[in-house]
Amino acid sequence: MDPLIKSAKEGDHLAFAMLFKENYPFLVKYLMKITMNPDIAEELAQETMAKCIQKIHLYNGQSKFSTWLISIATNAYIDQCRKQKRENQWKGQEEVYRKLKWHFESRNEEWNDAIEALGKLPVDVRVPIVLKHYYGYSYDEIGAWMKISSGTVKSRVHNGILAVRRELKLGEETEGRHTRQRTTK
């Protein structure tokens, strides 16, 4: 185990601080991708660190510290969404990705339609897509963090990608042909 983590587990404040400082940008950027809101991302990063301090005795060093942080952050965000039922408030969600869009524009970056499509997905679909296709975690790992089976994760990711494709109008011709074939039968 990393000596820094060992010291943190023994109660060393400085070791904890160094670990957090090292992983902070990675954590905030992950949260920005799933929340689509830099302000909420920073707020959740602090909540994640607080939970990490309370649960450090549970960290066994089998996975990377950053991976462990991601699992805590994922749960913190899902819990927050459940509490506030933010996903049901369509207007609120739309405003959420607008904030990220504004950040893109202020940096003169071209806004990506795929992110907009991702932002329209419900949280329990958006999070596994980011974890699987951007960070490369396995279905089993994601399932364990989200407390669902790996099969459920797989189907959510699959349906989510289909929704993104529809939004981006990718493969509409093929789908159209399928429909035509079905109707002529």
Binding site: K29, L100, E109
Partner: protein, 116 residues
């Protein structure tokens, strides 16, 4: 045979579209990684750790004292009812058992509903 070939080609096409969508997502998300994130200094993190540890210690003390007070209250009630009013004691035992069973079943059902 011909039909099978058409299906395989269509599947390949679908997979290609999936990969295109994934690629576009990755492209967009990688831009988020290029955003500058303000990282506070080491002192800030250290202060946060100290404050958080202090808060959780306070919370633990508060919860423990609340737990002990309630436990003491319930236990004294049960002991008094056991010696003074055995029927009330029996009634409390039955009600508690029913409540625990009801609470567990409801909680389990809610969990299944959420996972669906």
């Amino acid at each position: 045979m011909k039909k099978q070939k058409v299906v395989i080609l269509d599947n390949e096409q679908q997979n290609k579209h999936d990969l295109d969508a994934i690629h576009k997502l990755q492209e967009g998300l990688s831009k988020v990684d290029q955003f500058p994130v303000y990282t506070p200094d080491l002192q800030w993190f250290e202060n946060m750790v100290i404050t958080e540890k202090e808060n959780s210690r306070k919370k633990l003390r508060k919860e423990l004292s609340l737990f002990l007070t309630i436990a003491l209250f319930i236990l004294s009630g049960i002991i008094v009812s056991f010696y003074q009013m055995p029927i009330v004691f029996l009634f409390i035992q039955i009600i508690t058992t029913i409540f625990i069973v009801f609470y567990t079943v409801t909680g389990f059902r809610r969990k299944v509903k959420i996972n669906e």
